[in-house]
């Protein structure tokens, strides 16, 4: 299903019907000092998903076979109360599996890190709008620009772009080599990766936008995901260069499917707020003000 197009050309982002699924943990491994890769068998969700979309993941495995009356107060189930939004990193629709790559940012993700193969995790998804359908313009340069935990969704994005005949190039940044979570997945999905680290411990030293500035030409397309300051820099650069940019914006959220209005993203035209969960997380760069107001 195509999303309704706002001003500024056709909108090629995709939306999916969302479902819930108790996904089987196939594997979980630690990829760096503070991040994990989780491979899930999700035969209902995987075939519906498009790159850029995310899942709401209940961080505690589904309890099975517990005694007690149906409808009893589920106190353990309320702690933590909310599922955690995580982007789809790799996607195998035919095989019915997908992966997420996540940083242990707090209690919820720490609990998730203890999920073991054979356990089941409750998922809701696929949620939100995808990156734009990459097909149709094989020769048009596509830059995938990721920072930190914004890197993982660029893996399946790279695979989608390749399948659409594009030759995506990835620019992936982090503070140091250990923070390049998901960079190997991006490379494995067919995008040549240039790593950029602030401390120079991998790739070139600097910021991804320093390298993007050298590579970017008018009319190029950019898909980007990362911290608000990086997205804002990508947004400015693309506007100045006349490149088309799509930004994946993360906000603290509650429901993930549009009802709570928690994940507000300011519209660039001053006309109030959009929801990261259903109006994004992928937005056309010109439509939103990506800077988080204050934290």
């Amino acid at each position: 299903m195509e999303a309704p197009g706002p001003a500024g050309g056709p909108d090629r982002r995709r939306r999916s019907p969302w479902v819930r699924e108790e996904a089987l943990v196939l594997a979980q491994d630690q990829g760096g000092p503070d991040w994990f890769r989780l491979l899930l068998r999700a035969p209902r969700i995987a075939p519906l998903a498009w790159p850029g979309q995310f899942l709401q993941v209940a961080v505690r495995p589904v309890a099975t076979g517990l005694p007690g009356p149906a409808g009893a107060p589920d106190l353990a189930g309320s702690d933590p109360l909310l599922p955690r939004p995580l982007s789809i990193c790799t996607l195998d629709p035919e095989g019915g599996s997908l992966s997420v790559v996540y940083r242990v940012a707090g209690r919820g993700t720490a609990l998730l890190a203890s999920a073991r193969p054979g356990e089941r995790l409750a998922l809701l998804g696929p949620l939100g709008l995808s990156f734009p359908d990459p097909g149709g313009a094989a020769s048009r340069p596509l830059h995938l620009v990721g920072g930190g935990l914004g890197i993982p969704p660029l893996a399946c994005a790279a695979a989608w772009a390749r399948a659409g005949g594009r030759r995506p190039q990835a620019l992936l940044g982090a503070r140091g080599a250990a923070g390049l979570a998901g960079a190997a997945e991006v490379a494995a999905c067919g995008a040549p990766v240039q790593a950029v680290t602030e401390d120079g411990s991998a790739g070139v030293r600097g910021l991804v936008t320093d390298v993007l500035r050298e590579r970017l030409a008018p009319g190029d397309e950019v898909w980007s995901c990362g911290p608000p300051a990086m997205l804002a820099a990508v947004q400015r650069l693309c506007a100045a260069q006349g490149a088309e940019a799509w930004l994946c914006v993360e906000r603290a959220m509650a429901c993930g499917f549009g009802v709570c209005l928690g994940c507000a993203v300011a519209r660039s035209d001053g006309g109030g707020f959009l929801r990261a969960c259903v109006d994004g997380p992928v937005f056309r760069a010109g439509d939103v003000d990506v800077a988080e107001p204050r934290r």
């Binding site: 969302w18 149906a70 409808g71 107060p73 309320s78 009802v259 994940c263 507000a264 300011a266 934290r295």
Partner: protein, 319 residues
């Protein structure tokens, strides 16, 4: 407590276990969706038919569109969450022209939660609901209890005189069933229930969220841009239940119980305390199917108790 009219199914001769009439709002069952937790129904309707709900309380609706607060707007807490949405909504005209015509076709009772900055604005929203086709709006829920806006929230909900005054003005402006949604951020909630009853309310719903906050210790700043927010979810259920108990024991209009309800047995507790119906809010964020599950679990509990009607459970826990 007011004795309720016959349930809708009575006419057909069926004996609907779950049907209730709450302050003149006829519902297929006593499980409603709470305001601000179900939008205008469209997102949930993608997952299950809204006719499964006893009623849907739409997002707080104002005369003109409201922007809401800047983010961050939500933060999780132990078994609960804080929100400071700030009543972002597209206004009553949008509701009447876009959402209501669709909602009425979904086969659930629609309760419109109304907000305003002044008594005049509240009354004007209620009056505009009179433009809806007859029967489209099942009832009005007067929200005088949002902790996240400077005007139009606790300014009315935490002042006995103002609560009565805005209730009387809205009573004057509409003949629809009128519920007043009470704030827990007061010392004596029963006094507020009594005041709005005297001012013409047909029922009360409670609780709205409890004023709270969280601080990010790394940033040394409050997490919410609004600094404070409203606590909801299972963490607030004991407080909500105690307040429903107090109110049900002191007014003769129906009470709708809200606060942390996530299971059928949670709902049963509220009925036993004296609530005629319940609303499910935050539980929807964790499980979009929560209202349906709560209804089914409540039905199973009523059957196991040998009760012929949900109405039998109302207040049955009171000595």
């Amino acid at each position: 407590m007011r004795i309720m009219d016959g349930p809708p199914g009575a006419r057909t001769g069926a004996a609907p276990l779950l049907a209730v009439d709450v302050a003149g709002i006829r519902c297929a069952n006593p499980v409603w969706a709470a305001s601000g937790c179900a939008g205008y129904g469209r997102e949930l309707a993608a997952a299950w038919p809204l006719s499964a709900l006893g009623a849907l309380c739409v997002k707080g609706t104002s005369l003109e569109p409201w922007r809401g607060n800047p983010g961050p707007r939500v933060a999780e807490t132990a078994c609960g969450m804080l929100n400071a949405i700030g009543l972002q909504n597209p206004g009553v005209d949008h509701l009447l022209t876009r959402d209501l015509p669709w909602l009425v076709r979904q086969g659930t009772a629609v309760v419109v939660n109304i907000v305003g900055r002044t008594i005049e604005e509240y009354a004007a929203v209620a009056r505009r609901l009179g433009d809806a086709p007859a029967g489209a709006v099942a009832g009005v829920e007067l929200n005088i209890s949002c902790p996240n806006v400077r005007e139009g929230g606790l300014q009315f909900g935490a002042d006995l005189g103002a609560a009565a005054e805005v209730t009387a003005a809205v009573r004057e402006a509409t003949s629809l069933p009128l519920l007043v949604k009470l704030s827990p951020n007061v010392t004596d909630v029963a006094a507020f229930a009594a005041a709005v009853e005297r001012a013409g309310a047909d029922g009360v719903s409670l609780i709205n969220t409890l004023l709270g906050m969280r601080i990010d210790v790394a940033a040394r700043r409050p997490i919410l841009a609004n600094l404070t927010g409203g606590l909801s979810g299972p963490a607030c259920k004991p407080v909500a239940l105690r307040m429903v108990w107090e109110v049900a024991g002191s007014v003769s209009i129906p009470v709708v119980g809200i606060g942390g309800i996530a299971t059928g047995l949670d709902a049963a507790e509220f009925l036993l305390a004296g609530a005629s119906a319940v609303q499910v809010g935050t539980a929807i964020f964790r499980d979009p199917w929560a209202p349906v599950r709560v209804r089914d679990e409540l039905e199973a509990w009523l059957r196991a108790q040998g009760m012929a009607s949900a109405r039998e459970a109302v207040g049955a826990g009171r000595p």
